[in-house]
C-alpha cells in the first residue's frame, strides 16, 4: 500500500536517505511539471541555493545582489547586531523564566532574530504590523519593551501594549486569522488615500509561519489583497517546521511561488541574513506604500529551539539538522563581519553583552513581581457598551468572592478544590 504521507520526501530532513517510493505522484513534464528530484530540490532550495536573496553569507562575507543591494553604515550594522543580541538574550531569559515556573509558556524566537529584526527595522513609524505569536523581535523594533510581552505567557493578560500607537497589533494565536485583519487594515490605508509615496505613504506587514500558509485565511488574504491592491507585505517566516510537521507537509514547492498564482511578486530571502531581509522588506514596503502591493516575502530561517516550552523536538527531528543550521546562525555572521571588516572594537561587543545582562535582569525582576489580576478582571471590557447580564454576573460573583475573604476560617474556604 503506498504511503499516504509521502514519508520518503517528508521524512527526508529527519530520517536519513530519502526513498523515492510514491513520489511518482509528482513526475511531470515541461509545462509547470516537477520531477521528484525537482520537488526535493525545491524543498532544499527553500533554505539554500539559487533564487535566494542573500547579502551576507554565513561566513560573514558581504555579497552583492542585482536588485536588492544595500548601502549601510557601520553604525547601522552595529545596531542591527545589537538588536539581535538583545532580543536573543531576552528570549533566552524568558525561556529560563518558564523553566523556573515564572511563566506558563514561552514561544522561543531563537534562530529567527535576523528575519524579525530585518523586517522590523524596515518598518516606518506610520506602517502597521500584524504579528502571529513569535514576533518578539519585531515587537522590539516597534519599541515594545520585552517586559510587555510577559503578561500573555504568565497569564496576567492577553496582550498589554497599545496596538495602535505602537504600530504593532496584539499577538494572534489562531493561525492565519491575522492575514485577513492585515489585508483589511491595508484596504483602509488605501481608502484613506495614504498610498502613493514610497516614503510618506503607509503600508501594512503581516507575519505568519510556513505551517499557517495551509490555512484558508492566508489564501483569502492573498485574494483580497490582490483584488483591492492592498498595501500589505505578507511576511512568511519559513522556519522549516510547524511543531512536528516539516515544510513538505504544507507544500511541494517553495512557498514564495504561491504569490505568482495571484499575480503579485513573491521573493525568497535568506531569513538568517539581517541585511538581505532588511533590504527585501524595505523594497516590499516601498512598493506597497507607492500602491504596488501586495508582496509576499518568504524568509527562510530555522526554529533553533522547541516550538514552545511545552514541545519536545527530539521526538521528531534530528539534532544533526540543528547543528547544520547553527553554521548559518544569524548573529554569528554579523559578528564575524564586524570583526573582520574592523567595524567594531572589542569594547562594542562587551558593551552589548553588559546591556544584554541588564535587560535580562530587568526582565526577570519585572516578571517575578508581576501582580496577579483580581477576579474583577474576568468581567473587564467584555463590551465597549456594558451588557446588563455580564454586569449582573460580575456583581454576584464579586459579592460571593468577598464572602470568602470575610470568612477565611469558613469550612467551605477556598482552595479545598483540587
Amino acid at each position: 500500500m503506498p504511503s499516504l504521507n509521502r514519508a520518503s520526501a517528508r521524512s527526508s530532513p529527519v530520517a536519513g536517505p530519502p526513498t523515492m517510493g510514491p513520489i511518482v505522484g509528482t513526475v511531470m513534464d515541461d509545462d509547470g511539471h516537477h520531477t521528484p528530484q525537482q520537488v526535493i530540490a525545491g524543498l532544499r532550495a527553500t533554505s539554500e541555493g539559487e533564487g535566494l536573496v542573500q547579502l551576507l553569507t554565513p561566513e560573514g562575507e558581504l555579497v552583492t545582489h542585482p536588485q536588492f543591494d544595500l548601502t549601510i553604515s557601520p553604525a547601522e550594522l552595529r545596531s542591527l547586531y545589537r538588536d539581535m543580541v538583545l532580543v536573543r538574550r531576552a528570549d533566552r531569559e524568558a525561556n529560563a523564566l518558564q523553566r523556573q515556573g515564572q511563566l506558563g509558556l514561552w514561544v522561543p524566537l531563537l534562530g529567527q532574530e535576523a528575519a524579525q529584526i530585518g523586517a522590523g527595522r524596515a518598518l516606518a513609524p506610520q506602517d502597521m504590523a500584524f504579528p502571529s505569536y513569535r514576533e518578539h523581535g519585531v515587537a522590539w523594533c516597534r519599541g515594545i519593551d520585552p517586559t510587555e510581552l510577559l503578561g500573555i505567557f504568565r497569564g496576567t493578560d492577553q496582550g498589554s501594549w497599545d496596538p495602535i500607537s505602537t504600530g504593532f497589533q496584539l499577538y494572534t494565536i489562531v493561525l492565519a486569522n491575522q492575514c485577513l485583519h492585515a489585508t483589511g487594515y491595508a484596504m483602509g490605508q488605501r481608502l484613506d488615500g495614504r498610498i502613493g509615496d514610497p516614503e510618506s505613504g503607509e503600508a501594512t506587514i503581516c507575519f505568519f509561519g510556513d505551517g499557517a500558509t495551509s490555512q484558508g485565511d492566508v489564501h483569502e488574504g492573498f485574494v483580497w489583497a490582490a483584488v483591492y491592491d492592498a498595501p500589505v507585505v505578507f511576511f512568511c517566516q519559513n522556519n522549516q517546521w510547524a511543531i512536528s510537521a516539516p515544510l513538505d507537509l504544507q507544500t511541494r514547492v517553495p512557498l514564495y511561488r504561491r504569490a505568482l498564482g495571484y499575480g503579485f511578486p513573491g521573493i525568497r530571502v535568506d531569513g538568517n541574513d539581517v541585511l538581505a531581509t532588511l533590504a527585501v522588506t524595505r523594497w516590499a514596503l516601498r512598493e506597497c506604500r507607492s500602491g504596488n502591493g501586495p508582496v509576499l516575502i518568504e524568509a527562510c530561517t530555522y526554529r533553533m529551539d522547541a516550538h514552545t516550552t511545552s514541545d519536545d523536538p527530539t521526538r521528531y527531528r534530528l539534532t544533526s539538522e540543528l547543528e547544520e543550521w547553527k553554521l548559518k546562525d544569524p548573529l554569528e555572521r554579523v559578528r564575524v563581519h564586524l570583526v573582520r571588516a574592523g567595524l567594531a572594537e572589542p569594547q562594542f561587543f562587551q558593551g552589548v553583552t553588559v546591556e544584554a545582562d541588564e535587560l535580562a535582569a530587568r526582565l526577570r525582576d519585572y516578571c517575578i513581581s508581576m501582580p496577579a489580576p483580581g477576579p474583577e478582571r474576568i468581567f473587564s471590557k467584555v463590551y465597549a457598551e456594558p451588557s446588563p447580564s455580564v454586569e449582573a454576573q460580575r456583581e454576584e460573583f464579586l459579592a460571593y468572592h468577598t464572602s470568602f475573604a470575610d470568612a477565611a476560617t469558613n469550612s467551605n474556604s477556598r482552595g479545598r478544590d483540587h
Partner: protein
C-alpha cells in the same frame, strides 16, 4: 455634497408606508449619511444591491469606496472587516444567506467577539454582520437556517433580530452606532411585510424587548420571523377562544432583556417561547430556564417551547410542517392552559 443632495431627495417623508426591506435600506442610508466611517461590504451588495436588494442604490449614491462587492468568501469578509475596524471604519457586512455564515464563523467567534476583551478596550469592533435568517421562502438547502443561538452563546457578541419594518429602520441604525460587534438578523420571509414608519416617533433602545400585545391568559415570547405568526395566533385565540395572550418581541437575543417577560409571567403564570430554530441548547431553552428560575413561584404551568425540530432543515415542500405556525402556537396555548 452631491451625495447629500441625492440622499435628501431620497430621504423618507415624515410618515410613509415601507416594507421591512425598504426600512433596512433607508436605515442603512441614514447611518451612512450620519457617519462617513460607515461602509457596506459583502457579496453582490454593490451594483446588484444584494440578492434581496437591501443595499439597492447605496453604491450609486455613496460610491464604490463606501459600498463595495467583495471576493467570494465569508472568512475574508469578516476578517477584512475586523482589519477595517482596527483602522477606524464601521463595516456593515452582508452575509448572503444564514447558511453561509459558517465559513466566517471562526473570524466571528475567535476574533470579532474577542478583540475588545483581548485588548481590554484598546481596540473597538463596531462591526455589524447582517444575516437574513429563517425559512418559509421555498428555498434550497442552506437558505433557511436559524443560527441565532450559536451567536447568543458567544460572549463578546451582541445579537439582535428585527421583526417589522419600523424596527428594521431604527434597529439597523442603532446596531451600526453601537461600538460592539452586532450580529443583526433579518427575517427574510418578512422582507415584504409593510408598515407605516413615522419618523417623529422615537425608537426604543436597541437592547430592549417589547410588549406588542398585552393580555392576561398566557405570555408568548418570540422574535424575528415568528413574531407575525404569534400575533396572528393571538388574534385568533382572542377571536375563537376569548384568550388574551400577552405577546413579547424579544428583539435583543444577546444580551436578553427578560425583565418584561418576568413581569408578564408573574401576572399570567404561563409562558410559551416560540422560535423556528431547532430547540436543543437554544435561545428558547435559555428563556425557559431563566423564567423557570425567576418566576418559580408564579408559574402555574411549565414553560412550553414551540420550535423547529432537531433535524436539518428539510426540503422546501416540508417546511410548512417544519415551521411553527399559528396552529402549533394555539395548540401550545391549549396545552399550557390545561395545567
Amino acid at each position: 455634497m452631491s451625495v447629500m443632495t441625492q440622499v435628501s431627495e431620497r430621504a423618507p417623508a415624515v410618515t410613509q408606508t415601507i416594507t421591512l426591506a425598504k426600512g433596512l435600506n433607508q436605515g442603512l442610508r441614514a447611518a451612512m449619511e450620519a457617519d462617513p466611517k460607515v461602509i457596506v461590504m459583502g457579496e453582490d451588495v454593490g451594483r446588484l444591491g444584494g440578492v434581496f436588494r437591501i443595499t439597492d442604490g447605496l453604491q450609486k449614491d455613496f460610491g464604490e469606496q463606501r459600498v463595495f462587492d467583495t471576493p467570494l468568501g465569508e472568512s475574508g469578509i469578516i476578517g477584512t472587516a475586523v482589519g477595517l475596524a482596527v483602522r477606524g471604519y464601521r463595516p456593515v457586512c452582508e452575509i448572503q444567506f444564514d447558511g453561509f455564515v459558517f465559513p466566517g464563523f471562526d473570524q466571528i467567534v475567535s476574533q470579532l467577539a474577542k478583540l475588545h476583551y483581548r485588548s481590554q478596550g484598546k481596540l473597538r469592533m463596531p462591526v455589524v454582520v447582517r444575516i437574513p435568517h429563517g425559512g418559509g421562502i421555498g428555498a434550497v438547502e442552506h437558505h433557511s437556517e436559524s443560527p441565532e443561538s450559536y451567536f447568543a452563546h458567544t460572549p463578546g457578541l451582541k445579537v439582535v433580530a428585527c421583526s417589522n419594518p419600523v424596527d428594521a429602520y431604527w434597529m439597523i441604525q442603532q446596531a451600526i452606532a453601537c461600538d460592539d460587534p452586532v450580529i443583526f438578523f433579518e427575517p427574510k420571509r418578512r422582507y415584504w411585510d409593510k408598515a407605516s414608519l413615522d419618523l417623529a416617533t422615537a425608537p426604543l433602545p436597541l437592547f430592549s424587548s417589547r410588549v406588542l400585545r398585552s393580555g392576561t391568559t398566557a405570555t408568548v415570547a418570540t422574535y424575528g420571523p415568528m413574531v407575525r405568526t404569534v400575533l396572528d395566533a393571538a388574534a385568533a385565540a382572542e377571536q375563537d377562544d376569548g384568550h388574551a395572550l400577552e405577546v413579547i418581541d424579544l428583539r435583543t437575543l444577546s444580551p436578553l432583556d427578560l425583565a418584561p417577560v418576568f413581569d408578564s409571567v408573574r401576572r399570567t403564570g404561563r409562558l410559551i417561547c416560540v422560535s423556528e430554530a431547532p430547540g436543543a441548547a437554544s435561545l428558547t431553552a435559555e428563556v425557559a430556564a431563566q423564567v423557570s428560575q425567576e418566576c418559580f413561584y408564579s408559574l402555574e404551568a411549565p414553560v412550553l417551547q414551540v420550535t423547529g425540530f432537531d433535524t436539518p432543515y428539510p426540503p422546501a415542500k416540508c417546511e410548512e410542517d417544519y415551521l411553527p405556525d399559528l396552529d402549533r402556537v394555539l395548540d401550545a396555548v391549549d396545552r399550557v392552559l390545561a395545567y
